[in-house]
Symmetry: C2
Subunit: 465 residues, 2 copies
């Protein structure tokens, strides 16, 4: 996996001047990069936007967007990571975001790795886990390299149960773990007996109960339909998943009742999901991954298929260059903090959950989720303007995901590196905030924009095609 020097993109003529909105330049500024800002919104190289060196970019993007929209992500089963994720092995730990070494990992991702190694029984305590993680005996790889996505730290270890989402239109599969809920949870970097106890219950009780129920439903559960409905019920399916969680419970419960012989166990499983409005996040994310993957490898497409953060770096991939991570330092989240915490405690932006924005919902559908605006420190007007702005940088509008307050207009779909470069508008994200130190957990939630540097690099790469 190529990882460029953060400053190297200044070697290309594109990056000497910023041709878009000031925010693009400010984002570069924020990364300590001197930028000359030019208030000029016309495209730098207009002809590039349709064909370039014989590549028909418009046609390639049309095909990419079409594949994404034709995706039919069905929840068809569950399994243990090492058994069902292709290429998994007993010493593999997956993490959110672009590739990273143990040495460069941020606090919450380290904390989650430490917790996972103890949970796996590979280390007897967190100190031993640190030694093992640093020893080189553990392979770390991005979830995205294994058709998987994980919120926040995004740690997947060999024994963890995962949902299996099959894109029936293309045959590809995606994976994600079960959501742990809020409080002290592994994905926010917490570890300790309470964390392991919950993970053990999720493996011993929640997993077999859900697996039996899901696999009894012929054809599986249509996640695109659930996302589509949830977007009409105040969710954006990233930071708000109350409707999605409700609709998932409606879809799964009769099967739980019929397949789980122990009524008390069934009730406890239902209650665990019912008490965690984020449960559906770990289904909306792999649904997005399953829909995006068929667009990977379409020559000439400038649409993003991956956008993910590991808490140290922010990385993107384009459909036309799927093996190439364009990276930049992860940004600082502006948001609301839980009592006792402030921005000083915050880790930079982290998690694969930006797969939702990449797939045309999440922060891009905020206009339909005004209640989430409060959760991340904004107003309903902010929610509306966030979505309206994202149309400026997306290739098209989604056919299946629509926004009632915008007259059922399709959500902005297909972040187009050309349009980001042209307008200087960077993707807006909303996210949870993890404490920067290992072992603590969630401290807040907020909003930010993707860093400009990786988009500038990606656009420079397009010019080389």
């Amino acid at each position: 996996m190529a990882k460029k020097n953060p400053q190297s993109f200044f070697g290309t003529p594109l990056n000497v001047i910023n041709v878009g909105l000031r925010s693009f330049a400010e984002s570069l500024d924020a990364q300590g990069v001197p930028v000359t800002h030019v208030d000029w919104r016309a495209p730098l190289v207009p002809k590039l936007y349709f064909t370039h060196k014989g590549v028909d970019i418009e046609a390639a993007n049309t095909e990419a967007a079409s594949r994404i929209m034709r995706g039919q992500p069905m929840l068809v089963g569950m399994g243990v990571a090492r058994e069902v994720i292709p290429g998994y092995h007993d010493r593999l730990i997956l993490h959110a975001g672009p590739p990273i070494t143990w040495e460069r990992m941020c606090g919450p991702q380290r904390g989650a790795v430490m917790g996972a190694l103890v949970y796996e029984g590979l280390a007897k305590d967190e100190q031993e886990a640190v030694e093992l993680a640093a020893s080189g005996e553990i392979e770390f790889a991005p979830c995205h390299h294994y058709h998987t996505v994980g919120p926040m730290a995004g740690i997947v270890s060999p024994s963890m149960p995962v949902f299996i989402i099959k894109n029936e239109a293309f045959g590809n599969q995606a994976y994600a773990t079960q959501n742990e809920g809020l409080g002290r949870v592994l994905r926010y970097g917490a570890y300790g007996p309470d964390v392991y106890q919950r993970l053990n219950w999720m493996g011993d009780v929640l997993y077999p109960t859900l697996k039996a129920a899901i696999e009894s439903i012929e054809g599986g559960i249509d996640l695109r339909a659930l996302i589509s409905q949830a977007l009409h019920m105040g969710d954006e399916c990233h930071n708000r998943n109350r409707a999605g969680t409700s609709l998932f419970l409606r879809a799964i419960t009769p099967a739980i009742m019929r397949t789980c012989p122990d009524r008390e166990r069934a009730a406890q499983v239902f209650e665990f999901i019912e008490r965690n409005d984020h449960f559906f996040l770990n289904l909306s994310m792999p649904a997005g991954k399953a829909m995006l993957e068929p667009a990977e490898g379409i020559e000439g497409s400038t649409i993003l298929t991956v956008m993910a953060r590991n808490g140290t770096d922010f990385g993107i991939q384009m459909a036309g260059e799927p093996e190439h991570w364009f990276v930049a330092p992860a940004g600082i989240v502006k948001g609301l903090y839980l009592p006792g915490f402030s921005e000083e405690d915050a880790n930079p932006d982290i998690g694969d959950s930006t797969v939702t924005e990449t797939a045309g919902y999440g922060g891009f559908a905020m206009a339909g989720a005004p209640a989430i605006a409060r959760f991340v420190g904004g107003t309903p007007e902010d929610a509306l303007s966030a979505t309206l702005e994202m149309y400026e940088i997306c290739f098209t509008e989604h056919e299946h995901f629509t926004i009632p307050p915008l007259g059922f207009r399709g959500t902005p779909l297909g972040i187009d590196v050309r349009k980001v470069a042209e307008t200087g508008i960077l993707p807006r994200l909303n996210t949870g905030i993890a404490h920067k130190d290992p072992g603590i957990g969630m401290v807040g939630a907020g909003v930010l924009r993707a860093p400009g540097k990786c988009f500038a690099e990606a656009f420079a790469a397009v010019r080389e095609w």
Copy 2:
């Protein structure tokens, strides 16, 4: 129950000229009443709006609105109508709307009475039911006279199971039957073997299962909390109840799992509710009734506590004059029709479901439910303007029910007869549409306004206080 001559209110000077918006006059016009329209929005008798003949109307309305908002409607149990509704007897049939005789009943209400008498075993077929209904041996009374509300025809018969909602803040109780779903159902005036089969299943299977579950939940289920959340999830809790139904299932299901020994029966009960997004309507309605009743009898209050239609007449009651129905002919609904039906098939406006608007949600909260606008033939902009307009005729804004797209502003609460008279703005309603003939069922859904005549009469009565 007093029922005034429809024309008699013209004896008061108030009604010679219309001082409000043209729509008020048009509504009177539509009832064949000659009206001189004056484009002048200042109040006719300004002093009346605060105190009148020693009655402090502002203070009375403040108390009424406070009582409504302090209401805590809890779903605490279920029972059979004749056993739990105070004053019920074996020959009593309750119906939606103001009092009416069998002779004046509209088609769908007659159809539902016929079906109910066969369901009860009081008649062997629908023809015998017509004879019995006309014989004088059956007593007909408004649901509202028995702390009960019913959607559409609103028929309650002695054996029907009802939800028991207790207002914990005041101790009063309200009742409603279980929602049958869509298709050929009694509440839309349908009868026949399929209708009775469903009602029997609802009595024999659904009822005991839900009753056991509800009664196992300590303190019951907080319906105000569910309504409040549903209003943030695209419901207005009258014509759209998808979120409310989802949240009710989340609240009740663990109890169903624990109390129902038959897993297959539990699954069938869950599926019956899951497949009917209107199930929650029959909880949001009695929750409204339970919240409104404590305001009845507050001397000098011009706030409505009852607004209901029987498909022939539209009736309202004010808090300050609770025994008095002010009535007018029920209006014609403008809406969208199911395939094969048109406005010619439509019965006039029917049902007690306007209890939701009376209690500060339903059509008055449409700004938060843009998806419902399509269901009744409008746009999201219509939904927004509907709510904004209703603030003009309401006494205050709800403390617990808020609208995210309006910056979490409280819903319009407390329809104030003074303000309706002053502005000429009539309450907006959205509703289902029943076929005008007995035995058929639902033909569409749409919107209309309450008739002006009953408000003019109520305002005239206020001037007599």
